[in-house]
Symmetry: C2
């Protein structure tokens, strides 16, 4: 590379470093047109310098590569705490001022850029949703590489660079995601270029990968399926040409691999290039502060000079540091970047801060959800026929997969459970993505499959988030208990979506849809460790604008729910549904109406006198509780025929919340109309019972609400024994009714005893036979 | 190895395989003394065959190694769904019958062993707490290797074998834990021997690591710091000698590495041996079933022959399969294992099912917690002096570290935050464990340090769980928001502890203690992504017998809480405390009394007339809410001097629960005495406000309870702005009082306006200055 090109790159890098440091420190005097004084300094110094020069180096060199080759590229910045760097680059390339016109690309804009950073009412210190070009906040480390792969899937023209911090590389999610190399199709997917940035230290410690011999690191990365290219140095005169050469070589290898697969039909898995970049933490910042080494150590992690306002030495040191970048060469008198600084910067949508893939909603097409009629099960009479709801859903998903064969903008992900979760119809249409070795005994593997299965919930989630944030659709099918593995990831995604609601320039993206199945009530093979319905509680703590939770009780309600969530935008939808044979309760029409209401009375199941209203409400949410409630209603009909029973089924849990707390929340009058203000409500709920109280505690009738649910009484046992152990069974529900409806008299006491006897009979039977009572196993709704 | 020794090993292996299959299938006729009939078969076939023969092979060969070398060894079985295998081996070696005397090592015992497996009222299908010799359930895959390292730390004489499934190896937590090699001290720690078991398939898919070239896998494992030894085969005549030789070689390498470090003083990090074992899934089971290949494929994962009771062909095939092990050679007429079968089995506590390290409570010594007086801060008057609570705690932890220098049974773990969480005093006593390269700029690293820092919450948690379950003490210090990363891991640990409560032979182990700091209210550097107080909600969904949650509001209450939790057993204790300077409210004596009560009235802060009781209760939990409540109490004292205010502080959140719901729960009368049954309660809570409602919804005064807390209104801003954004600030609390106490009159309306004005003033001030109002920043309690 010619010397003058290197000088251009260095100018851009210095400018970005200057702007990054300026954001951390300066309230005013952005161009240092006068000597630095304490009042130019922010009163609270917040932000992370350490990683910023490295990110600036990568950004500068990606600019050059993109511009030279007219690349369609985005970058995922794993060390997201390096917000000052990415903001600096966006401002330099102009995308920042286009996104936020009040922050111009001039001296006044620079002053505002500096001031707003990590300042109340300003912008966050991380690479947040507010940052143009970002699909990755990077605050909680570990997800950069899976996000990058998610962005690359089905984007064959896209290059996704991904900076991985060496701290981040220690996390589990990141460690697992290296194996994404076995799932990326060189024909239909884009390329991911990992850049492992070893700056040596975390907050207070060296990083593991920076302190193993290079040969060991190299072996590990080759073991992940990569060809590593090493760039090491602390002298920009050496690092600039080395980095430029590394990127050129990486691009060559990527292009060659794609051409081999796309034109020459090679089926060999490419050993994708990656870059290992070793540069000092806090590079170009203060070498020592108060006698302690800072540059190249963990002390450079946040604010290298901590007391600039109070300590004149620190103030002098800061001024010398900032002037070391020679800002007068980088910005003209009006504060605009010079031509040299901008020489490497691409233009228009090629800029990293302006590429539409990083504002994926701009590229989103509506998902072609077919008419549900083709997949619905016929229901002439409720509770007589059985279907596996997820298998019925599988038909719908397969059709969507078929109808997106050309657009390739729909993926189903899961940890090895698509078939066991009964979504196998998908494999009539597409395969499971697989670039590893294939044996004769394998089924449904294909290099271009659009089902993604890896036994890492983290990787599944990261892939899907990256896919959504670049504008495409998907579904995550997961064991209910193990979706907790991604609790913290979904937190971050919800926070991201919530923040984008306030950013009009961010176009809505497809919702993140969970199908939680293999649920708590049916872990016959696995037992206690596989029983946890608490993910719903977790997400319902988060932003109500974003979160939706559904418990469709049968096949057709699952279809109606899926239809809704797959079309939606900017939500996190949690759908809990069974995969085991389950009674069909509602026809498709009824299911649609019921799901649209979110909660409603099943008149056909109740015995209330409309003039009087019910004596008791049996409410349910979830497939197993619904079955137990209907069985209880039938027992009551038989044993206490005079009792007015109302059956209420809840599909959308957030309907229980007050209107002020959630967009789907019911008004108090609607709630009272459904549940009554004063009658006992026995609520059979799929999960932890107190969730219902947490949602409904403000309601008039709350004192009359009695909730049954899962209370950690789990083990390997029969389906009915599970509900008995947790007091959610039909017999217990009838006993609850008897205990709570006043004035039922002697007859009711006898009924209660009959129910208690049935529970005793159950216990004896399962110990003897290992199966459920025939009267339970063979039960059907007879009305 | 001589042929007859191989024959002994093979006999043991066949016996274990027979017993594993028998558990899945047989209700009766355990020794096949008569032809197999449908009524001998379980009505529900549950369990996992696929991994079992591999686990049996490993167990058989570990037996031989242990016996031959008189090793002190345990094994962590990563593919925990292979319960039948581990149960079979425990029964063979006799540890099962010693633990459960009703299941004898004879024909009758074998029948019971078979029948109870995955049967209602029997034992779980996984390697559960019920399984002798287990410290790892293995239901949620990913934690085996970190558990193994946790067991090995500070157990220099122990060998911890660890079988890692190739499915499990895809998970993030497992992938991260390979780097534990950089933290294991060959002098003071034991050895971990990973055995990566590649049987090729998961539930429905090939595994990634079984389908990359062996050279790539080998490079990856060398990159993790291991020397891999490969054992591959499907012919036992080849695999037995190969596995025996591999174990011999591994043990030689381990012994050599330990001697080099211990005797020769080598400081070089050993390249620890490990074994890659490739054998077929479902090895020795049915090769094909109904024309489909089963052995060696994913179809062998659970129950290879699914319809034995109904399908005579399947029944015949099962009988042939079981007879292929030649049970008549393995068991005598009474069903006792023959001498040949037991030839390789070690005796007494050397047996894997009887080693006391796997029932760690047997080895637990009390932790020497020193007198708190040495560390407490003096408090003459509440709310005048400031201390950083975690820094004060650091002194106590350092003393414990000092006092356990010889016993080495206390560890502090955390993801790179011990120093930033102000626990730096520890480094005056011990270092951070580190076997990587060390530079001059590093601080506090040492090969034998007992602080463990890796930027993987999963690995921290796994290490500590393994350390606890083998009987030692510890503390996990973590960012509050990011402890959600281990939500699912703590689930499993809580389930484990709950299950052990019903197992009298399991001795109690030290509690798992979390210190959650860098909490939601003080994320000045990081903002929204670092703000999540929901871990408390998550754990409070779990077994109340196990879970404890504490919010000490200052330094001395933190000491008193730490004293309690560090001495406790079999709990998961969550302690949320600040690291920022915080007012000292209570002297050590008062702190002890207050923490013992868990919740109490702070008389000195209130203004109630004891004869009349309060007009309003200001309750608080958490350091920041406590400060805001006291500031609000002070404002009320000044502005509404006639108002009777009671201040209640809650340290132990479970006190709010009813007595029936939690062992710490308060009686209704105690609750009413504290909070009143009928006065407004304004509760300022650290986390999501609805948690308090979920705990207190059954209380008489619940309708008068108004909770303020974090409602996801987060960003990078000042500490006081954070509380204002979430309506938890002193001004809003006063407004809440005015709004809720009836009959306050005109004066109160003026006070309300004053408060609203103060909030407006705040907003203007931070926008202009970027700092908090001086009246807030300089506030102290003046009474």
């Amino acid at each position: 590379m010619p010397h003058d090109r290197i000088a251009d790159l260095d100018a851009h890098w210095r400018a970005a470093n200057y702007l990054a440091a300026g954001q951390i420190y300066l309230l005013d005097n952005p161009l240092l047109t006068e000597p630095l004084r304490p009042e130019h300094i922010k009163p609270r110094l917040l932000g992370h310098w350490g990683t910023s020069p490295g990110l600036n180096l990568v950004h500068t060199h990606l600019n050059r590569l993109i511009r030279q080759h007219d690349l369609d590229a985005i970058c995922v910045w794993g060390p997201g705490h390096g917000g000052p760097a990415v903001l600096a680059n966006s401002w330099l390339e102009g995308s920042y001022s286009e996104t936020y016109p009040t922050i111009g690309r001039d001296g006044d804009g620079m002053r505002k850029l500096f001031r707003q950073f990590s300042f109340p009412g300003g912008v966050p210190s991380h690479v947040a949703p507010e940052t143009p070009g970002s699909i990755h906040e990077g605050g909680e480390l570990g997800y950069s590489l899976s996000h990058a792969y998610g962005a690359a899937f089905d984007n064959p023209g896209l290059l996704v660079a991904c900076v991985i911090g060496d701290g981040e590389a220690e996390t589990g999610p990141l460690a697992a995601s290296w194996h994404s190399t076995k799932f990326l199709d060189p024909v239909h997917d884009g390329a991911v270029l990992p850049i492992l940035h070893l700056n040596g230290y975390k907050i207070a410690n060296p990083t593991v990968l920076s302190r193993i011999p290079e040969a060991e690191l190299d072996a590990m990365l080759r073991g992940f399926g990569h060809e590593p290219i090493h760039v090491t140095g602390d002298d920009p005169r050496i690092v600039h040409p080395a980095m430029a050469a590394a990127l050129d070589r990486a691009l060559e290898r990527i292009t060659a691999a794609q051409q081999a697969a796309r034109s020459a039909g090679s089926r060999e898995r490419p050993r994708w290039p990656m870059i290992v970049l070793r540069t000092p933490k806090g590079w170009t910042g203060p070498a020592t502060v108060d006698g302690e080494p800072v540059e190249g150590t963990w002390r450079a992690h946040q604010v290298p000079l901590p007391s600039v306002r109070e300590n004149p030495d620190h103030l002098r040191q800061l001024e010398a540091w900032l002037r070391s970048y020679r800002p007068e060469e980088l910005f003209d008198a009006d504060g605009r970047p010079t031509e040299q600084v901008l020489a490497c910067v691409p233009s228009g949508p090629r800029r990293l801060g302006a590429n539409p893939h990083a504002n994926g909603g701009l590229l989103t097409r509506d998902l072609p959800v077919p008419p549900l009629e083709h997949f619905a099960v016929p229901v002439d009479k409720p509770g007589t026929a059985l279907h596996e709801p997820t298998r019925v859903l599988g038909g719908l998903l397969a059709q969507i997969m078929r109808d997106t064969a050309r657009s390739r903008d729909f993926r189903v992900v899961g940890p090895d459970e698509t078939a066991s979760n009964r979504l196998g119809a998908l494999f009539e249409v597409t395969g499971k993505a697989w670039q590893g070795e294939v044996l004769d005994t394998d089924e449904h593997l294909s290099t271009d499959g659009r089902v993604l299965e890896i036994l890492s919930e983290h990787t599944c989630q990261g892939w899907l988030e990256g896919y959504h944030l670049t504008g495409r659709h998907g579904l995550f099918s997961c064991y209910e208990a193990f979706v907790h593995i991604v609790d913290s990831m979904v937190n971050q995604h919800i926070k991201w979506l919530r923040t984008t609601r306030a950013l009009p320039w961010r176009a809505p993206v497809p919702s993140l849809n969970y199908l939680l199945t293999s649920h708590v009530w049916r872990q016959d093979h696995n037992g206690f460790s596989h029983q946890d319905p608490g993910f719903v509680d977790h997400v319902l703590n988060k932003s109500p604008e974003v979160v939706r939770v559904y418990f469709p009780p049968d096949a057709n309600t699952l279809l109606a729910t899926a239809d809704h969530v797959l079309r939606s935008r900017d939500y996190v939808n949690v759908v809990v549904a069974g995969k085991q044979p389950c009674f069909d309760w509602l026809s498709l029409d009824d299911a649609r109406t019921h799901c649209a209401r979110g909660a409603g009375i099943w008149e056909w199941a109740g015995t209330e006198d409309p003039a009087k209203g019910p004596d008791v409400v049996l409410a349910c949410a979830g497939d197993v509780p619904t079955q137990e409630v209907l069985a209880a209603a039938q027992l009551l009909r038989h044993h206490l025929p005079g009792l007015g029973v109302r059956v209420v089924n809840v599909v959308d849990m957030t309907r229980l919340l007050p209107r002020e707390e959630h967009p789907h929340g019911m008004s108090d009058s609607a709630y009272d109309a459904l549940f009554t203000p004063d009658r006992p409500v026995i609520f059979a709920y799929h999960g932890y019972p107190w969730l219902v109280h947490r949602l409904a505690y403000r309601r008039t009738g709350h004192a009359h609400l009695h909730v049954r649910g899962y209370k950690e009484a789990g083990t390997t046992t029969t389906p009915f024994d599970m509900v008995v152990r947790n007091d959610l069974d039909r017999y217990r529900l009838v006993m609850d009714v008897v205990d709570r409806v006043p004035g039922l008299g002697v007859r009711a006491a006898a009924v209660r005893q009959t129910m208690a006897d049935a529970r005793t009979r159950h216990h004896a039977w399962i110990r003897a036979h290992g199966t459920d009572l025939p009267e339970v196993a063979d039960w059907t709704w007879t009305g």
